[in-house]
Assembly symmetry: C2
Homo-oligomer: 121 residues x 2
Amino acid sequence: MPLYAQLTRAIQFAIVTGRLQIGEQLPTVRQLAVELRVNANTVAKVYAELERSGVLETRRGVGTFVCARHFEARNRQDSQAILGDLVDRFVEEAGAMGFSPDDLIAQLQRRRKKETKKNVQ
Amino acid sequence: MPLYAQLTRAIQFAIVTGRLQIGEQLPTVRQLAVELRVNANTVAKVYAELERSGVLETRRGVGTFVCARHFEARNRQDSQAILGDLVDRFVEEAGAMGFSPDDLIAQLQRRRKKETKKNVQ
DNA sequence: AAACTTGTACTATCTTCGTAGTACAATCTG
DNA sequence: CAGATTGTACTACGAAGATAGTACAAGTTT
């Protein structure tokens, strides 16, 4: 998986899990580039892409921040549409491998049961 | 999406939906290549890949056929493992976009309800 | 065995993608 | 305003991927 994709996912994940708080400043393009031994442009592109999708907010000369409202601003209709598309893709891909939507549901529920058990112990 | 991927999915889908019956012969590499305005090698690669994964069976001088037992031969453990991996990937990707596994389940169930309604009408 | 049909191996070319380098522009701070 | 810090535009290089062309091998049919 390309560097830029890894980084994108890592940042999204950090935000979703709360490891990056809303409003928090991210490392400088150069800082992160040095730390990850990567070109600054690679980081910059990730930041730019995440800004386009409303996850980050960047102010020149200041830095890049976790956008105040992203998942919040994504209102109910948007969320539903995005989720719908995502699931449609999943269903299609699974279908090509011979699994039905019901198979997916079943597997997801098994997963959930396993997780709750883990948390209880 | 590259040609070979499109073709692969199309064939898998045709098999899963029964449009291609088990044991049925597929078009010749060249036939299909002409029909799709594509190089024969592209088709050949798809056939070869699908053979490797056990979906097709090819006999030189004769043709390529839908393998008698593929989804059948994939026993219960295999199926479970494959499905598990698939769903894990889905969950991870959805998580990066801020959706929980429960969101996925909910959406899948909504989808199912819609489908059954369509079929009843 | 000869002719034909099938899939396959090898190679070349073209394109796309990812990353890096360099130079630039915008903003802040003293 | 001067200098520092931030992100950005443009370019180029390298690698990987996808497709096509040609020639070959395995099998069937007559």
